[in-house]
């Protein structure tokens, strides 16, 4: 037994050392890449960004809505969404265009048509999809593109805090509003929508997720009790909709019949074949609560969030995107949340399928911390994509909620009310006034580079992603057909940013453009599994991913240096499978599904398709 002075001195030394541990760990963890010049970034990381919105003739600044005056005191945080971007080739010219939403009353959305020479022209007004934020009809929150009538042209679904709209694409020449014919509801306060063929009948269906309850008109409040009833357990949000495509231009709302009945506050949804069944499962990232995962048993959904591990710990889900980050042929799911030093450390979630589990028994583990993609800030949109063509998927994440006065902070008041009982938190009148204060404002972004071995490193500042706007939507797209992924960022109350990606020539790539026949023509839900140099990577054509965004339809694979590609397996939503043996790097493979098989043609990156 030791009772003496020596033991007490040893104890004291250990005690002091343990107290110093957090400081040491903090110092050790500060390994973020610092700003470097482009050539250093190119040699060190294999790429760098140039922000080229001005030189691309894109001069778009998002405007936020002005809601009911009863919300004036907290307006910046309520009117904090609506900056969105989706990628589409609306006129089938082989070059990606951008549709960007605005949210000020009377403000115009923009369709930036790619002029093939590095510049863009806003043609939204000419084509009839600009003036969509009129008073009384609500304002835009986001859009997704899908060819719902299989005529070969991508149609536009616009979701709003207000009246959702469907615009039919008339051969790339004009858009016709067909919302009534489609049977869309009169008002939904939505922040997410995804096109997918849930019943695999060859026609695109549509999921639409409500945020505020649909009986709330944010411009004419009946009362101020429209806020979430809890910061982490809220179930008083908007309902969900699943619109089944009837094939005649109309849709039938079947969410309850199909097993989707929830009033959590949905902010992002992603659809993917997570179990390898051929059916598209639905993942919903909810604000103020747990995430939900709906297994799709060929048209009938069942919630499996708790069973799989993704739906237990409530956070503030604001993004849902999938990627095969370890080249295992399986999707991980990335959900962004809130982390604010000293106040709230939710951490973002990277849900990785657990080794040895699959099918209905699939389990997920949150490996965000282990892989160093946990702490972003007040995070919103994120997308996986191979930014340096090295053969592994990287992750681009935007952060920042309300950037107002740099020296004044609303976090104390926010944390005060967020812990309150439902009767307090749910009433906007109880919320302290923001008075021009910032709430997680001016935050840096993350560009996490994947080392392929289970670790990511943030290189945002080094590669030129240095803006501090309040980022919302991120979309990855090869804007200039160069075999690289450029990044487009929509910022709340801020400019649309175009980060042109400059990638070293050593790393190779290959792209796939799919067109369905038995499957929906957009090929949404189709997967390409590529095998090369002992690696395999799966990617899917998505009808919406991230936060209020949609990436390019074309699937882009980085391959690293001197790749030897074995094969590409294409699995269509119809169940058809097509394999290309020994595809060639540096090419865009255009693959058309045929009833019995599929065919493909090649085109060089900058070649325009004929006809």
């Amino acid at each position: 037994m030791l009772r003496g002075k020596t033991a007490r001195i040893i104890l004291l030394i250990i005690f002091v050392a343990l107290i110093a541990t957090p400081l040491v760990l903090r110092r050790l963890s500060q390994t973020r890449a610092v700003k470097t010049d482009p050539s250093s970034s190119l040699s060190r990381y294999g790429f760098y960004f140039q922000e080229v919105s001005q030189t691309s003739n894109i001069n778009f600044k998002h405007q936020a809505p002005t809601l009911d005056h009863q919300l004036d005191h907290i307006m910046p945080q309520v009117a904090s969404m609506g900056a969105a971007v989706s990628v589409v080739d609306f006129n089938r010219d082989g070059w990606s265009d951008l549709y960007v939403t605005n949210s000020g009353e009377g403000s115009k959305n923009a369709l930036f048509k790619n002029s093939h020479d590095g510049s863009f022209t806003d043609v939204a007004a000419d084509l009839g999809i600009a003036n969509v934020n009129q008073s009384g009809s609500g304002v835009s929150m986001g859009s997704v593109w899908g060819d719902y009538d299989n005529d070969g042209y991508e149609d536009l679904f616009l979701y709003k805090w207000g009246r959702p709209e469907l615009f039919h694409n008339d051969a790339g020449q004009k858009f016709s509003r067909v919302s009534e014919k489609a049977g869309l509801p009169a008002w939904v306060n939505a922040n997410t929508a995804v096109w997918f063929d849930y019943d695999r009948d060859g026609r695109l269906d549509l999921f639409l997720g409500g945020y505020y309850a649909e009986d709330v008109d944010l411009w004419h409040l009946k009362n101020t009790k429209m806020m979430p009833e809890s910061f982490e357990y809220a179930k008083n949000g908007g309902r969900k909709y699943l619109f089944r495509n009837l094939g005649d231009g109309s849709f039938e709302e079947i969410s309850q019949k199909a097993g989707i009945d929830t009033r959590r506050w949905a902010l992002a949804a992603i659809v993917a074949d997570l179990r390898g069944t051929g059916n598209q499962d639905l993942f919903i990232a909810n604000d103020y609560g747990i995430s939900e995962l709906y297994f799709n048993d060929r048209g009938q959904f069942r919630e499996a969030g708790k069973d799989t591990g993704v739906g237990f710990s409530p956070k503030s889900g604001m993004n849902a995107s999938v990627g095969d980050i370890l080249n295992q042929g399986r999707y991980s799911i990335y959900v962004s949340n809130i982390s604010e030093e000293g106040v709230l450390i939710q951490g973002n979630n990277l849900w990785m399928p657990r080794e040895g589990t699959g099918g209905d028994a699939i389990k997920y583990d949150n490996l965000a911390r282990a892989m160093d993609v946990e702490i972003g800030g007040w995070s919103f949109g994120a997308q996986f994509g191979d930014l340096n063509n090295d053969g592994t998927l990287d992750l681009y994440l935007v952060n920042g909620y309300v950037s107002a006065d740099r020296n004044l902070n609303y976090w104390y008041d926010f944390s005060k009310i967020a812990g309150g009982n439902s009767t307090i938190i749910s009433d906007a009148a109880h919320w302290p006034a923001m008075d021009g204060r910032s709430l997680s404002g001016y935050q840096q972004k993350k560009v996490w580079l994947n080392d392929g071995l289970g670790k990511f490193v943030d290189v945002a500042q080094a590669v030129g992603a240095s803006d501090v706007f309040d980022g919302r939507a991120v979309a990855l797209v090869d804007l200039w057909n160069r075999g690289v992924l450029d990044v487009v960022v929509a910022n709340q109350r801020g400019p649309l940013l175009i980060y042109k990606n400059n990638v070293g020539q050593e790393n190779k790539w290959i792209d796939f453009e799919l067109e369905g026949a038995s499957s929906n023509r957009s090929a949404i839900g189709a997967e390409v599994k590529l095998f090369w140099d002992g690696h395999q990577q799966v990617q899917q054509v998505s009808g919406g991913s991230g936060f209020c965004s949609q990436n390019q339809r074309r699937l882009h694979f980085g391959l690293g240096k001197n790749p030897q590609i074995d094969r590409a397996e294409i699995r269509w939503p119809s169940g058809n499978v097509f394999t290309i043996q020994k595809p060639v790097a540096g090419q865009v493979y255009k693959i058309k599904e045929e009833v019995q098989s599929s065919s493909f043609s090649l085109r060089s990156p900058k070649e325009q398709p004929k006809g």
Binding site: P22, G342, G419, G420, D427
Partner: protein, 278 residues
Amino acid sequence: MSDSTIRSAALDVPVRSRLRFDNRYIAPLFITFILLVGHLFYGILESYERTALAIVAAIVTELVLGRIFYGKWLNLSSAYISGISVGILLRSPAFWPYALASVLSIMSKYVLRVKGRHLWNPSNFGICVLLFLAPETVASLSVQWGNFKWPLIVIWVLGSLIIYRAKRFHISATYVASFFAFAFLRSWITGDPVQAEIAPITGPMYQLFVFFMITDPKTTVRSKKWQCIVVLFVAFVEMLLRLNQVVHAPLYSLFLVGPTAMLIEIWLESRRKVAVVV
């Protein structure tokens, strides 16, 4: 944290009563009840593993240090409460803060002592150190009890009954009354809605704070009157911190006021003893 809220009260009850039920286990059972209700119904824990780690770390530290410095295996109810408090009140996606806070909590009882009495409520010490030194990794529990008022009411009523049985109800009651009074005062000063000022006390963090932390017999002064005055000061300093927008105001307030009160009492007692000797 409440290292045996009930322990000192247990010394007062007749032996036959203690044979029926050892009061020392009421507090651990109650906090376990809060944990289970909170997690099973609302998932308040970061994870089972992290909370288990906090509990195990506290218990192991207590066993080792008790053996080294007192030569015996100590009763573990106090360490259990400290561990479980860390497990509930600390929020971090990492594992290490849970272990570190628990170990520091228990160690503080052995290191930070004056005249044979430890100064800080153990879990208050461990949690505050982590909140202050590792804000990039750690936050405190700031969520509510679901969307319903009944869990809130049940825990307040049950907690009050238990704390009353332990003869510490006056401490909790004084603090709660002071909190409300200062909430109105803050609202008047800042112009914020009074509901916003009251909101924090409706959350589970305050339930643990009120029933376990501020009532800890080992780290509160001895006289009933001064116990009330000290928690009044805790609430007052908390108000000052809140007016300066300090997020973890109640925890920091107790961290500052609690040991100060203890030191004053120890100093007064030593002066009294000197006077008696003279």
